[in-house]
């Protein structure tokens, strides 16, 4: 090595990756995901999908609600088109989450392809923990740290969904329901915990009212509308308050 210049930036990504991996296992989410994916694995078994299919769907989709929608739509005889549409609509939250996360990960040296893996690993649990923990991580280590969190969570979910697949027959119905309830329950409290600013609290309150309301009114694209309406009202209130100061 005659040129030491690249070395100054090339911190080994392994240390921050494993720091992120360990952080994921200290997060309450790893246990929530474990329970959730035992439930999803059991669901996939009950609807007759194979173990390989179920594990691959966990890694490829990596968004619990979309996976439940896919398995239950196909499993109850829905068409592939119907399933694709339902998955597409349920996953719209990933778009603003990715847009909010990536600028925190990027430095001026970052190549765009380095962001492909963190974008794929973006899911609610990984996003919440990343936004909470990343400010304390040096900018050049953030991508590796974030990948560590995501892979740590994915690993526990794959393990759990495999276990759920084999436990399926012996899970009491109430227990299976309780496992699926882990997703909305943990999202509810952790988003409440992470909403410290007025703009976030307002967006949260509006969204949780608008989502089911628009769905009950059978408004098409209900989630997109609850995001656009709720998020924009919250943002406008935030701007007005800033201006009034």
């Amino acid at each position: 090595m005659s040129d030491p210049a690249p070395e100054t930036r090339a911190v080994s990504p392994l240390a921050p990756f494993f720091a992120g991996f360990r952080a994921s296992w200290r997060s309450v989410f790893v246990y929530v995901l474990f329970g959730t994916f035992v439930g999803i694995g059991a669901l996939a078994h009950d609807f007759g999908f194979s173990l390989g299919w179920m594990l691959l769907s966990t890694a490829l989709i990596w968004a619990g609600p979309a996976q439940v929608v896919l398995i239950s739509t196909l499993g109850t005889g829905g068409s592939a088109f119907e399933a694709a549409l339902a998955v597409w609509l349920s996953s719209v939250r990933l778009l603003p989450m990715v847009i909010a996360l990536l600028p925190i990960l990027r430095t001026e040296h970052t190549r765009n392809r380095e962001l492909i893996l963190p974008a794929h690993l973006t899911a609610v649990s990984m996003w919440i923990e990343s936004l909470r923990l990343l400010p304390a991580v040096p900018p050049e280590q953030r991508i590796a740290f974030c990948n560590g969190i995501g892979i740590g969570m994915l690993a526990s979910s794959l393990l759990a969904s495999g276990m759920g697949f084999y436990l399926a027959g012996s899970l009491p119905r109430v227990f299976a329901a309780a496992l699926l309830f882990l997703t909305p329950m943990s999202f509810l409290v952790s988003v409440t915990r992470n909403s410290r600013l007025l703009v976030e609290r307002l967006a949260f309150a509006l969204g949780i009212a608008l989502g089911p309301l628009l769905a009950a009114m059978q408004v098409e694209l209900d989630l997109i509308w609850s995001g656009v309406i709720g998020g924009t009202i919250a943002y406008v209130v935030h701007r007005l308050r800033e201006a009034a100061r």
Binding site: V28, L43, W53, S57, L60, I61, P65, Q67, V68, L70, A80, F81, A84, W88, S91, R93, L94, L95, M97, V98, I99, A100, L101, L102, P103, A119, V124, V174, A177, L180, F181, P184, M185, F187, L188, V189, V191, T192, R193, S195, V199, E200, A203, F204, A205, L206, I208, L210, G211, A215, D222, L223, S226, G227, V228, G230, G231, A234, Y235, H238
Partner: protein
Amino acid sequence: MNPNLVDFWPYLILVLAGFLPNEVWRVLGLMLARGLDEDSEILVWVRALATAVLAGVIGKLILFPSGALTTIPVQVRIAAAGLGLLAFFLARRSVFAGVAVGEAVLIAGALAFSP
């Protein structure tokens, strides 16, 4: 039909109906995030949007669920979510306490009120 093709079919459906419609949002996010700075004002709005959509998903998962959760009466689901959130605040914002109490209420309510 060729038996190998039959084995392959569910995986094709997985990619077409599960992976692609889901991943398209992440890819779109990857493209739209390209020029954005960490401190830019538009990100405040995007985070508000993300929070509102996520809250909408939570509301829908509780009121209009799929899978085994549909067998639990809606009143039990709402009570579990509400009491879980209350426990979260009472236990000094502990996520674990919130989830544990919510789950306990759901199971107790399901055993007491389900057919």
